[in-house]
């Protein structure tokens, strides 16, 4: 496959709260290639959003990157200062947020958001920036006459289109999409997914698509990274992941997705609760809920191993 654009090595992101240290991302390794889409799936609180934000070094306090490297296009982002990070943010790695209703400045015209972003990173005149902003809005399906409208005059779906245009404004290498469709209703969700898929090809960008909804991720991803309790437990190409998933958590998770074609089906769920990351379980973090757990799972943390080519899993059942 193509060349690697992003490599995360041994990343640890902890939140230092009053109650103690929350290990939101704990020893995560993963990589992505240019132009590919990685779906980052996991339950709420599994650390997937924290992982997304840490790539841009935008973890809200009291969160901190404690250890590890984030190598983007040969540069270790953890070594960069704020000023150097600003050159990366928006221009080379950009972000689409979960809630489009609150992600735009309510006092700023839609078009000015785009113009400001373009002019921050590139030496262009206002006229040139406006022209590019109009082209971007056209690409995401917004009429040019809405350039001077304010965010409150837009619906949620339309605002998310604006956020996508903003993320693509400088033709970045990677777009991190943090639950971009979760706050939208189902019909709009599919329109936005379609749009993202089309633009991903048109702009040739890589994407990290974060979602708790495995069916949404399945639509769009080339690769799947499954997160559980701050760790990646399985990482594979999308088709092998859905057909020959290895980790017990993946198995239970996929079984719990309801199938519309089978009637009379009882909803399946995974027994137990996601662990409290203040006091994570010993050994493998999934062992209290795992039907295959053995004594070793309680004692030791399994390594993430490549079982088949490009198919990684973190479980003692595979050696």
């Amino acid at each position: 496959m193509g060349e690697s654009i992003l490599e995360v090595k041994g990343l640890k992101v902890y939140y230092y709260t009053r109650e103690g240290v929350v290990r939101a991302v704990d020893n995560v390794d993963f990589f992505m290639e240019k132009g590919e889409t990685v779906g980052l799936v996991g339950e709420s609180g599994s650390g997937k959003s924290t992982l997304g934000f840490s790539i841009l070094k935008l973890i809200p306090p009291p969160g901190k990157i404690v250890d590890g490297k984030i190598i983007f296009d040969g540069i270790d982002l953890t070594e960069l200062d704020e000023k150097e990070m600003r050159e990366i943010r928006g221009k080379r790695i950009s972000m689409v947020f979960q809630d489009p209703m609150t992600s735009l400045n309510p006092l700023m015209k839609i078009g000015d958001h785009l113009v400001e972003t373009i002019m921050t990173h590139e030496e262009v005149t206002r006229e040139e920036a406006e022209e590019r902003a109009l082209a971007l809005l056209r690409d995401v399906g917004i009429m040019p006459d809405r350039f001077h409208d304010y965010p409150h005059q837009f619906s949620g779906g339309m605002r998310q289109r604006v956020m996508i245009a903003l993320a693509l404004a400088l033709n970045p290498d990677i777009v991190i999409a943090d639950e971009p469709t979760s706050a939208l209703d189902v019909i709009v969700q599919f329109q936005i997914l379609d749009l993202m898929e089309r633009l991903k090809k048109q702009y040739n960008v890589g994407m990290i698509f974060i979602s708790h909804d495995i069916s949404v991720v399945a639509e769009i991803s080339d690769k799947i990274a499954l997160m559980y309790a701050g760790q990646i437990v399985e990482y594979a190409n999308a088709i092998p992941f859905f057909e020959e998933h290895l980790h017990p958590y993946a198995e239970l998770l996929l079984q719990s997705v309801p199938n519309i074609e089978l009637s009379d089906q009882k909803l399946k769920y995974i027994p137990g609760l996601p662990p409290d990351l203040l006091h994570p379980p010993s050994g493998c973090r999934f062992h209290p809920r795992c039907p295959y757990a053995e004594s070793i799972c309680k004692e030791k943390d399994p390594p993430l191993l490549e079982i088949n080519t490009g198919h990684f899993v973190k479980c003692f059942r595979y050696k």
Partner: protein, 336 residues
């Protein structure tokens, strides 16, 4: 018509009942507050003289006629005549003293906003660090200070010990610029009178800082808390994720959003500004409305006091009207 224009017209129409209620309250309070006739004549005047004065002042007519006449006069811009010193029109007297107060208020207002916003933003940027704690203390302490005390301290340091600045009056004797607006700084600029300008500014510094410091604390605290709230919003994170420079995010995105409550406070503070100006004026022998009003209350000059209160009330209403229009200008969501 644009939505902004409709909003402005609607807001102006809404100010009319507010003004009517205000004028009625002033009328009622002035009738309750005491007897102007005995204030003029003293307690033991003969009955026919009392009747004559009552007739002169229109106090012998039924109350509703007095009320309507009072409104009718105000409607024509007539605030009545003073009861003492040659019965000069109240409006003329007010207009003589008001420019001094306006000049002091404007510059104190600018000083307070400037100090308040800078300290507030700085405090929020350094959230929970020593700078933040110091500035929060500043915000509380200044609010508890007494204006004449701040004034005396400043007079002592900069006027007496250092001798840098004058401690009383508006301008050096015989330096008054040609009267255009009555604001000495503005008039000096308009007539290109540099020595007057310097003298006027030097006299203005201590009183404006006194009043400015007193009023700034509330802006410090308000700016800080609003900035902290806004800086937590998603659109700020989104702006950071687009790589915008920190100053752009703080001043263009955050401060503008945090500004609406600050603007509200400016409107509310306006009444306090006028009250504070009264105290500052007496401390610095500033010949404005405060000194004037205090003097006329002392002499029981009812018509002048009533006229001055009406004048202040109308001023406060107009300022809040202007503030409301500014909201709509800043925040497009308010127009709808």
């Amino acid at each position: 018509m644009t939505s902004l224009r409709i909003y402005v017209v609607r807001r102006i129409l809404l100010a009319i009942p507010t003004i009517l209620i205000l004028l009625t309250i002033v009328f009622v309070v002035m009738r309750v507050a005491g007897d102007p006739v005995s204030a003029i004549l003293g307690g033991h005047a003969p009955a026919e003289q009392i009747e004559r004065i009552k007739e002169q002042l229109g106090l012998n007519k039924p109350l509703y006629v007095q009320y309507l006449e009072y409104l009718w006069q105000l409607f024509h811009g007539d605030l009545g005549r003073s009861m003492i010193w040659g019965r000069r029109p109240v409006l003329v007297e007010i207009l003589e003293h008001f420019p001094a107060t306006l000049e002091l208020s404007i510059s104190a207002f600018i000083v307070s906003i400037f100090i308040g916003i800078i300290t507030g933003v700085h405090s929020a940027r350094n959230y929970n660090k020593p700078t933040d704690h110091m500035l929060r203390l500043y915000g509380i302490v200044t609010y508890a200070l007494f204006i004449p005390w701040i004034g005396l301290i400043l007079q002592l340091i900069f006027g007496v010990y250092l001798g840098w600045l004058p401690t009383s009056g508006r301008i050096d004797t015989l330096m008054e610029p040609k009267h255009i607006t009555g604001l000495y700084v503005l008039d000096s600029i308009l007539t290109l009178n540099i020595p007057s300008l310097i003298s006027a500014i030097r006299h203005l510094i201590l009183p404006s800082i006194t009043l400015g410091i007193y009023l700034s604390g509330i802006y410090t605290r308000l700016t800080r808390s609003n900035m902290l709230e806004i800086l937590r919003k998603d659109f700020i994170t989104a702006a950071k994720a687009r790589g915008l420079p920190e100053d752009t995010i703080i001043y263009k995105h955050a401060l503008k959003n945090a500004f609406i409550p600050i603007l509200t406070m400016m409107g509310l503070q306006f009444a306090l500004l006028l009250a504070g100006a009264v105290l500052t004026e007496t401390t610095f022998s500033w010949p404005g409305m405060g000194t004037f009003l205090a003097e006329r209350i002392f002499y029981r000059d009812y018509t002048t006091v009533q006229g001055t209160i009406v004048f202040f009330a109308l001023l406060v209403v107009s300022v809040s009207l202007i503030i409301d229009i500014l909201y709509a200008y800043i925040d497009p969501r308010i127009r709808y």
